[in-house]
Subunit: 128 residues, 2 copies
């Protein structure tokens, strides 16, 4: 073993690199319009599918399903199915989800707070 260093060319910090790329992946999973809105709304209280759909408004059936799956896969929400007719499915934020929700709350608050600042910036933009 040994004279040929270039064969095992994997850098010693390969683990770090992997964790980093995972963090990036997760970050883009949550850093998007629908995911954050869902977290914000389902964070208010446990809701069923159609409630969420109505509360959020403007989200399609498909998008909601899709995003809920991703959130569930990442351990942010839990999905509880009641085997009734008609079916009833409830979504609840996990502890990790709640933690993220406080962050999202901050974003919503920020948006409200800087609303007029942004409108001004938009008017100034371009007509310098």
């Amino acid at each position: 073993m040994g004279t040929r260093q270039e064969i095992s060319a994997i850098p010693p910090d390969a683990d770090l690199a992997r964790a980093d790329s995972l963090a990036r992946e997760i970050f883009s999973d949550i850093a998007n319009k629908w995911a954050l809105l869902i977290i914000e709304f389902v964070g208010q209280r446990t809701m069923r599918f159609s409630e969420l759909r109505d509360e959020i408004g403007g989200i399609s059936h498909k998008m909601l399903t899709q995003n809920l799956r991703t959130l569930e896969r990442n351990g942010l929400i839990t999905r509880k199915v009641y085997a009734t007719i008609p079916p009833r499915v409830e979504y609840t934020l996990t502890e990790a989800g709640q933690a993220l929700r406080t962050v999202v709350d901050g974003m919503c608050g920020w948006t409200q707070h800087y609303l007029s600042h942004i409108e001004t910036a938009r008017r100034d933009f371009g007509q310098v």
Copy 2:
């Protein structure tokens, strides 16, 4: 005057509705992967275009330009051009941007903190 109420059919809370849709628009402007990453990096210090590009990594020339414009339009960053050769353009976070950055910091922290929780959730997902 008026027996004809239905002519001015604009609801009294038309302003509220407008502010709401604006808030939604701004929210989706900032609630996306690249915008948030840019805010996070340019928040560390004033950076020029190519620095940002290198620091963020994985973002294309075009995407960076595009997102920087949107952020500027919303008053989150300022753009300073030095008329030198070669040109030098520096981007800095505004006060509003700084405020948002603290929120984004929270999101980055959250991601790091729950990394292993998410990995576990992902393994469990589907093989129930």
